[in-house]
């Protein structure tokens, strides 16, 4: 099925739900991939979600569905599902996903579910819950294949076939020393192509890409993407192997982190809110707008301060929008480039000076081009060379300063370990608004000798 056809399945589901056609619904629900059901869930009510969920006959499929739904929906679903049923569904999901689910639920509910699970699972998951959900420890699976270096290829193969059929996505065999420390890695392909009696130490790779248990998930994603890995081992600071993070989870991280960055930059939350209620969306977007509102009020006060200048030169008002706009836009370009560059490793903090200087140069050139252009526009419109100079000079300096502020602020935030994506938006635009207005009226006051 292509995505096109799947979209139509979703439409059908909604139609049948409205008609309460349970028999047809059951048939479709059990034929549809849980990922597609989850995507239909985004646009259904909690009651409809519960109906669909209960029509899924297969516990494993219910488990996959739970993994993929939004946090809000999850909570409602847990409440409307029998606790024992819910626990038996969780037992079908890899432990890292269960830990992730429990973290998304209110602590008390999570605790109750954990207590209801069998001892082995609950201990394993309890251990995962100790780690920060955004760290390697929080996203790893504690199940992997690790064998001593003297094991032969043949023994390793039969071990995998017999004992490890349920390990999630097996690609690599890790090699550990007598103290469980990670010393090498072999791919399953190497395993079947070497002579059967070769010990693992004879063909394992010792230059291993790994992450520490407390590494941030962005770091994990970076390593997997950079070295084209299918899984990355997670170790503690004594090099003891604790788990692996697989590529499918990394894909989700990369997507979510990009969405998070994009939304944070405009103050629209840190995960997707379009499907949330109107009031929730409003609440998320309100505070960021407050910062820019305060900037606007400050601009009002500054203009009020230049009241006498403005009364004598009313035409000055006409160029306020374009000067603020050009500054704001070039500043947003600079800050976006820096924020995304930091996130994707294309810009390093230690090159801060060089990056900022380059942005200033670009801002200066762009400012000169548009300063000249807008100076000419001002002259054509008002036949007043003084105004032309004021407008032109304001544009040049505003754009130059905006490029400086737009590139410098996110790097400063990053240096002090504040997420540059959050802080950049309101700070950069507010700073630029105030600078541009002050510059413009100061130039005017000076040049018109008021």
């Amino acid at each position: 099925m292509t995505a096109e056809i799947k979209t139509r399945v979703v439409d059908t589901l909604r139609r049948l739900l409205n008609r309460n056609a349970t028999a047809s619904l059951r048939k479709i629900v059990n034929k549809t991939h849980p990922a597609d059901l989850a995507s239909a869930f985004h646009s259904l009510s909690h009651a409809q979600q519960a109906t669909l969920f209960n029509l899924v006959d297969d516990r494993e499929k219910q488990g996959m569905l739970i993994k993929k739904i939004d946090t809000d929906d999850l909570e409602a679903l847990v409440e409307s599902t029998n606790k024992d049923v819910f626990i038996s569904i969780l037992e079908q999901i890899p432990p890292d996903d269960v830990a992730d689910l429990l973290e998304r639920l209110p602590e008390e509910i999570g605790q109750r579910i954990l207590e209801g699970m069998n001892q082995e699972s609950s201990e394993e998951i309890g251990e995962l819950l100790q780690y920060d959900g955004q760290s390697a420890g929080g996203i790893m699976v504690p199940e992997f294949i690790a064998l001593p270096e003297e094991t032969t290829a043949k023994t390793a193969i039969s071990y995998i076939q017999k004992e490890h059929q349920n390990v999630e996505m097996t690609f690599y065999l890790y090699v550990v020393d007598s103290r469980d420390k990670l010393v090498g890695v072999c791919s399953l392909r190497e395993l079947v192509t070497v002579a059967p009696e070769t010990p693992l130490s004879g063909f394992m790779t010792t230059d291993i890409h790994f992450v520490y248990i407390d590494s941030d998930q962005e770091e994990v994603a970076r390593i997997v993407a950079r070295y084209d890995l299918l899984a990355v081992p997670v170790i503690d600071h004594d090099r003891k192997l604790l788990g692996i993070v697989t590529v499918d989870d990394v894909i989700d991280i990369i997507r979510d982190e990009a969405t998070e960055d994009i939304l944070k930059m405009v103050g629209a939350g840190d995960s997707f809110i379009e499907t949330k209620s109107i009031l929730k969306s409003t609440k998320i977007r309100l505070p960021w707008l407050f910062a820019s509102c305060m900037g606007g009020v400050l601009a009002t006060i500054i203009i009020g301060h230049f009241k006498t200048t403005l009364e004598q030169l009313v035409f000055l008002a006409a160029f306020i929008p374009v000067i603020m706009g050009m500054g704001g836009n070039v500043g947003t370009q600079s800050s976006t480039i820096v924020v995304r560059g930091l996130a994707t490793d294309r810009i390093q903090l230690r090159n801060m000076g060089r990056v900022i200087l380059k942005e200033i140069a670009v801002g200066g050139i762009l400012g000169t081009v548009y300063g000249l252009f807008l100076g000419i526009v001002a002259h054509v419109g008002y036949q007043m060379w003084r105004l032309a100079v004021v407008v032109g000079a304001s544009v040049v300096f505003t754009m130059l300063l905006a490029a400086f502020v737009g590139s410098m602020l996110p790097m400063m935030f990053a240096r002090f370990r504040i997420d540059p994506a959050v802080a950049t938006g309101p700070f950069v635009t507010t700073a630029i608004d105030i600078m541009s207005i002050s510059l413009y009226f100061s130039f005017a006051k000076f040049l018109f000798e008021l």
Copy 2:
């Protein structure tokens, strides 16, 4: 090695390059992963890049390095490398990557390289080059394992061990009918766990996730991410299996598409430009700013049109920044949510009406909150109820309209198959600037009875 340590390797490389310490360089270069070398390349001159490149002793490693470097750098590197050497390096890279590289080079150079390759490779790559580089055909590898349905598990295993050791990332075995049409898929794990004499048709999955040869690469990424696949088969419209796209390429697509969207939204190019020269950066950013500059000029003309109003009520100028700013910010929030929602499948075009209505509601509530607040600010500052009403009402209507325009425009663009990320920025901000200014002065003119 962690990323921290790798960064230091990069610093060392640059120091040694400056000192011309060839022997030490050769040693480090050959110990460093090509992905790390490529990341060092971003901040080196073309001459330094060529030096490092030639110090790499292993052709395969040189190939991996070429794959990862920027297009500009690639061209210079090709020019400074002996053609035959370059071709022998390309023979170490999977054909989809070679096709991708050749597409990034000027046509004439690509043609010459293609002609120099051995016939088999050149035909295979020539075929890939027929497809759009952004489509499934352009990113697939034409090498995969496909066997008829009656093949037994045992035969399939020995076939893979003997014949297919070089197939890039083997995870799935595809099952085809007598006309090479895709009918099923088995994982390698299933293959080793069923009874050896079972035919593939006995345990293959027939509900296959696939993409068409002309599907967009974003669609490919979406399918792989949604169903947690390691590879997705690519078929033509007769269901004939032509190739596969692997998860490592999908990770790159997801990253690059996110970066592209983010940068396009602020008119800063479609791939990362921070490392490009100042003039190139300027050239990329100039046109987008022109659109917003024209919007600003239009705002100037509109304000000029309200000249008499402004002359009598000079204080109106003070609120221009805050009204434009609030409109612009809420509009940017709406358009960003819609652009990212469309890209990640959270918003569907067919729900256009619902999405826009919701944005209008959110914009209306936010507008009411900030309209009241700024109305009060105006009253406190100027003790004039008329001004308070004008400011308040302008903020309400501007924010409401901005949310409408900000959500509607990207959806309209998407509907007409124009990339919403490109078009949204300048159109949305310009439209909002003009609307907000017109509204504000019209309200003022009406309420002050001028």
